[in-house]
Amino acid sequence: MSTKDRIARRVALELHDGDVVNLGIGLPTLVSNYLPPGVEVILQSENGMLNMGQVVPEDQADPDITNAGAKFVSILPGGCFFDSTMSFCIIRGGHVDVTVLGALEVDQEGNLANWVIPGQMVPGMGGAMDLVTGAKKVIVATEHVNKNGKSKVLKRCSLPLTAQQKVNLIVTDLAVMEVTPQGLVVKELAPGVTPQALKEATEADLIMHEDVLVQALA
């Protein structure tokens, strides 16, 4: 199982039966593959759909049904299509229970940066700023360090923010961390990760209790 899949599998445990969930493009999309038995969530796609189903091969696709990454998908029974005004009334109005997004950087105050690297990459924020602002719970799902081995979990983001102090939970390949008024609390360590190893891999200040759990997932 890849690192990304392991992160996605851990995120899936945060979802409850019946939750309305928006999954960002990339790693977060994998979360729907790992829902525990008895947990069905309602996937919202910001381009105008609830109860989004799986990706459909192009030759079997309905050309009018796509996800927010322009891939052909199905709609599940009980689903509904709507336009972008309704989609963002739902998103900004707090009707999405959980949004899961990737990060370029995330910090101990709950700030997230994931939409631009000045001078390098300017993809735009799409619906991410609204999702992070409006969703009831914001989960960041990301590898703990970037390609250069540098911590993505920081004291303070250096890249332009997607939203200020909105992140609730950070799930990485090394740990699960909760953003609290006191700071970033380590809730679980991935198997084989020592408190010391986590601290060395993390630029942010961590609050770690002695009885921190080791993730049950292997």
Partner: protein
């Protein structure tokens, strides 16, 4: 105090997602004195008459009602007004219910008159995380008094604030069990926007069908916005 009890009850309830049809009594168990209610309808068309009858029966009082109007004495919200159950209301019109005017004049009912287009936008703001509506409607009239006026690119706009409720009581034509709603004719009116703006959304519907039976392209209110479905009330 009432809202506190309501929120406690709401927190403890098991959310239904697959079959939202409930006996009307279950929906009514959340209705308490002192709550703010949104009620769909336009001059008692597209109004959940059954749910209103049950509110009258339960005798909850000191309600704040947000709706287009106060109906007629024997129809729609007029039935609640006539029983003295409404303490305050946000409406665009009370002319079809003389009893509202009488209670207003005797100081027993607070009436906040809001232009219809502003009222619907205030509800939409409350339901969609927006801070308020900037409208030209009402500029230079009495309703602008005490309100902030913003000048944007040389034009004036009134700032009107969001409205929300604890419960929205809606009326729709058809629903699937997951709560997706379809309206008919002019009976939609305030119902779809109110589905966004309350902590608990209860829809009275003429008919419920299985999930998947309604074309997902032709739905008006997404099921995730609706918590409970009450079938019937249809002397239609």
């Amino acid at each position: 105090m009432a809202p506190a009890t309501f929120y406690k009850k709401l927190e403890n309830r098991v959310k239904k997602t697959r079959d939202k049809v409930v006996p009307v009594e279950e929906a009514m168990s959340f209705a308490e004195s002192g709550l703010t209610l949104m009620i769909g309808g336009f001059l008692a068309h597209g109004t959940p008459e059954l749910l209103i009858d049950k509110l009258v029966e339960k005798g909850v009082r000191d309600l704040t009602v947000i709706a287009n109007d106060t109906g007629m004495p024997d129809k729609g919200i007029g039935k609640l007004v006539g029983k003295g159950q409404v303490r305050s209301c946000y409406v665009s019109h009370i002319g079809t219910n003389p009893e509202t005017g009488r209670l207003l004049n005797s100081g027993k009912l607070e009436v906040n008159l809001v232009p219809q287009g502003t009222l619907v936008e205030r509800i939409r703001c409350g339901g969609s995380g927006l801070g308020g509506v900037l409208t030209p409607t009402g500029l230079g009239t009495g309703i602008a008094e005490g309100k902030e006026i913003l000048v944007i690119d040389g034009k004036e706009y009134l700032l009107d604030k969001p409205l929300r409720a604890q419960i929205a009581f809606l009326k729709a034509h058809k629903a699937d069990k997951a709560g997706n709603l379809q309206y008919r004719g002019t009976s939609a009116n305030f119902n779809p926007v109110m589905a966004l703006a309350a902590d608990l959304v209860v829809a009275q519907v003429d008919e419920v069908v299985e999930v998947g039976e309604i074309d997902p392209n032709l739905l008006h209110t997404p099921g995730i916005l609706v918590d409970m479905l009450v079938v019937g009330g249809g002397e239609r």
